[in-house]
Symmetry: C2
Subunit: 394 residues, 2 copies
């Protein structure tokens, strides 16, 4: 829990081939244990985790992208022609493409052929179908694919994918730590320019430009609130209302570096802070401390939730409506697992997590705090620079 | 084709209730024609189109969001508790929520109840399953939902949704025109600061900050290339290589305002331009002119493709590998329809489209051009400020 990132310049972009070899080896070990002959993946983080394929082109919903991971040998990309030159720069060698878009057969016959070859007739194919997953291809095309492969068995690969992705390599941790450091510096610089009379929309604009200027690739997630003492929701676009003395401004940001995210927030008061705001802040700061202390290998996510909830309840508050007190973090703003009573995931070294306790001090009025950590053998290591223990007043 | 946006300040954020009433009326007319008792929607643009619910929180994959559109009466939102305060500010009145995340029942029993009530036992439920669609909920949860509703019939709602969304209202067009104007000004300002020796990564950083400073909410999509005469792919992240004299820099940007996108690119040469680059540029400029002339109500997307392709082929070039020469635009970077031979969609007033011809002048080396238009009764109206007819040399 020494914490904080030093500013020694950005880590290298991309990954060496050995990183992907290590990931594939872990995956194939897990596939063998689960009795899977192949994995079929069609979502951005999963394709990127195995290949390094990084492009903003996923913003376009038109074309599906497929990756087949066989039980032995390297993954095979089945992708639109437009992506083949970029995929060819990764460590993937077997790239099969079609001239997408082509709705009559949007890669499905090509994909069926690859699966038949790599999983075998009657093979068992893992596809993520569980919690937090989505199907980034037309449902009707999945039905077509299944009709092409009548003897294949389909299994839910969600637990397997969660198990792989939740442990980060040191190279991944370095990228997350870097962007956490950039956003920490951005938050610490707020006092230099955030002022009463500005709208939250202006503040967001300034903060986005500031983080990009500091070296973030983008700031795809920025939500927040500015209201007396606390706020009713934590996912809104910014208001055009001028901020006033006594407002508590909360900004929660997901900035990116080389495809990896930070996700944390900071609260500041303008001009003055009332006692409700100060007390809520101090309670959440202590709840986060309890989370930091609890985040040791062997503890569960439920343990983390209980540790933070105890501080909040002891202070006489209700928990917030976010449904959990933090989550995994890495190639996505939020990842499995969840700090909630139902999540018995056991913490292991290499897991990158947010600690995000929230409370309500009046109906529909509350605060949230958030820090990002990596679990080490000895306990939590902060990736963000720790928020101050008392509500800062600008 | 008078073209260009004037800078008269941003249009108002959000939409009046009558906009959503008009959308719902169009939808329910189409549902009656298709024999649907309800629509089930779970993707961001569809939920927002019917409700106005705007949040970046969709970046988190953890929680599904559902909207049920009945054949009569207002839509019903079935959403996580965390989103209820924001949804309550829209025109939607019936909001049913659960304390997500909760993997054992992630809204499915609640959703099943709403569908049973609104579609009736044995009702026919439309769900998008076709081209360009995805399922933003776990596949296993869809199976659970179907098991809760054994008598319901499920139909593909893709053509219905495409038909609704491809015609934009004047309020939507104003938002798209506004962000097209901001990005046009940003591109026109490149000459003031883009220079040899900068890397494309630096140029992207500068361009993102510039557009946000001009009033864009964000620049979620920015891809491009900088290479002698042309480029091999059009979807890459930027390189750190210093740009050199003779490089053609292409930037393709999707910036946003109030949830609406622009999507267009510009090409400029640094210091000097070789004849291959100039001739490719002029050919694509003329191909775009042909697309502008062809984009009249009654023509098809295939007609637009042919008009642009004829110019490229007459000049002796091969078409690029993008698979189409433009597409719909609005709440997403790319939307149905596609300017391709297989797309017989008939142009109608109110359709917002990109014209995006591309060519190769050597294997793996080419250019792309792009403009954004709205189809009017009299023909195409430019939303972007037209690129100059000859390759600009900075």
């Amino acid at each position: 829990m020494t914490g904080g990132t030093t500013s020694k310049g950005p880590p290298p972009r991309g990954f060496p081939v050995e990183e992907f070899e290590m990931r594939l080896e872990r995956a194939q070990r897990a596939m063998a244990a689960a009795g899977l002959d192949a994995l079929l993946l069609c979502t951005e983080p999963e394709v990127r985790w195995f290949t390094g394929f990084l492009t903003l082109f996923w913003q376009s919903p038109t074309r599906p992208w497929f990756l087949v991971v066989p039980k032995a040998g390297k993954p095979v990309a089945v992708i639109p022609e437009i992506g083949a030159p970029v995929m060819a720069r990764t460590w993937i060698e077997d790239i099969r493409s079609w001239p997408a878009p082509q709705p009559d057969d949007e890669g499905i016959s090509l994909l069926a052929g690859a699966l038949r070859e790599l999983a075998g007739e009657g093979g068992r194919i893992g596809l993520p179908m569980g919690h937090e997953s989505s199907l980034r291809m037309p449902l009707a095309d999945l039905e077509r694919l299944k009709a092409w492969l009548p003897d294949s068995a389909w299994a839910d690969a969600t637990p397997l994918i969660h198990g792989l992705r939740r442990i980060k390599s040191e190279r991944e941790i370095a990228k997350i730590a870097h962007v956490c450091g950039l956003a920490s510096a951005g938050f610490e610089g707020l006092g230099g320019w955030l002022a009463e009379g500005m709208s939250l929309a202006e503040v967001f604009r300034g903060f986005r430009r500031d983080l990009i200027g500091r070296g973030a690739d983008d700031v795809p997630y920025l939500v927040g609130a500015g209201a007396p003492a606390g706020y009713a929701d934590v996912i809104s676009p910014p208001s055009e209302r001028p901020l006033e003395a006594g407002d508590v401004v909360m900004m929660d940001t997901g900035a990116t570096f080389d495809g990896y995210w930070c996700d944390f927030d900071r609260n500041v008061a303008l001009g003055q802070a009332d006692d409700r705001a100060k007390r809520a802040y101090e309670t959440l700061w202590r709840a986060t401390e309890a989370g930091l202390a609890a985040a040791r290998p062997g503890a569960t996510c439920a343990d983390l939730f209980r540790a933070m909830a105890a501080v909040i309840e002891d202070a006489g508050y209700r928990a917030g409506n976010v449904g959990r007190f933090g989550h995994g973090l890495g190639m996505q703003l939020t990842e499995h697992p969840s700090h909630a009573l139902w999540d018995r995931t056991v913490l292991e070294p290499g897991m990158v997590l947010t600690l995000e306790p929230g409370l309500e001090f009046a109906p529909g009025l509350g605060q949230v705090h958030e820090e990002d950590i990596v679990v080490r053998a000895g306990g939590a290591e902060l990736l963000t620079r720790r928020a101050p223990p008392e509500l800062p007043v600008l």
